[in-house]
Amino acid sequence: MKIRITDRILLLLFVLAAMALAVVIPCIIFGAIPQSNFNNFMQTAYADGWMKALITAICAVVFLIGFRLLIAGLSRPRPKTALLASSAEGSIRISLVVLDELAQKFANTIQEIKEIKTDVFLLRDGVKFRVKYTIVQEASVPEISTKLQTGIKQFVEMYTGITVKSVEVMVEKTSSTPKKYITD
């Protein structure tokens, strides 16, 4: 699941706050921060209105950040789906994640491809794939690219019945190291 940039920033702040607390408390307990300093701080916190307000504000911010992250973590946005068929019996929809996995599954069968990233986009009358891959150095880019385009289209259409309008292919980089295999 992709995390939004704002949630990443909040998560960073929350983790830093937790880490700070995890450092300060042992320092107090084991005397790295003298007890007198701690006592002075607590007396000031109890007595000074501004200090109370500041501490309360910091705690409130940390609480709200934590709450926001909790909500973000629990709520899962429904994945986008593409319509496969619609009939009197009802509709059949497929998650774009599944289409992405099928494209990856096919691409993994091509030995000349070392790494691959795929994205799938919903169109009005079908779907579109965008593929970025790393090719081994000795391989022919036009041949592999054509193989990917026709192969992904045929593979996905065969197993899902959905229309693949286009497969955009981009060679991201070449790799001098050959693809490794594990064979049992």
């Binding site: 629990l74 994945p79 789906t81 496969l84 068929a85 009939s87 019996e89 009802g90 509709s91 059949i92 929809r93 497929i94 998650s95 994640v97 599944v98 996995e101 099928l102 599954k105 993994n108 790494e115 065969m158 197993y159 899902t160 019945g161 959905i162 693809k179 490794k180 295999y181 594990i182 064979t183 049992d184």
Partner: protein, 134 residues
């Protein structure tokens, strides 16, 4: 996931009422769907996962039911087996669920909507197949 268990759907017959809990319809639908070849399983939410973790069989997992007085609409969230033709299997699921619910409850099934949430890939066979190393 299903609607509230508390809700009972009532058909008024000449000799009295026949009531169905939502879970009953969801269970019938879930069982009918599970018998269709090519279906790997049903895709449930967090509650379904906890119920299964506790060891209780959950036949309503991945099934959402909306029922009126005489009719029903059913949503199924499914995971398919890799290799099965998804659109064909889903069409079979629609027919199987509609047939089962209409036969067993007498309700008219207005629509059976199928949402494919995932594909289950079996482990690569040991002979011949290779895996990518990252």
């Amino acid at each position: 996931m299903t609607d509230s268990n508390e809700r009972m759907q009532t058909k008024v017959q000449k000799d009295g009422k026949i009531s169905f809990a939502d879970d009953v319809i969801a269970t019938i639908a879930g069982l009918a769907a599970s018998e269709v070849p090519g279906l790997a399983g049903m895709s449930g939410g967090i509650v379904d996962g906890i119920v299964e973790f506790l060891g209780k069989k959950n036949f309503t997992k991945g099934v959402k039911v909306e029922v009126g007085n005489e009719e029903a609409a059913i949503d199924l969230f499914v995971v398919m087996e890799y290799g099965a033709k998804i659109h064909e299997v889903c069409a079979e699921i629609q027919q199987a669920v509609k047939r089962a619910v209409e036969t067993m409850t007498g309700l008219r099934v207005m629509e059976v909507n199928v949402f494919v949430q995932g594909v289950r890939f079996e482990k690569e066979s040991k002979e011949g197949d290779a895996q990518r190393v990252r």
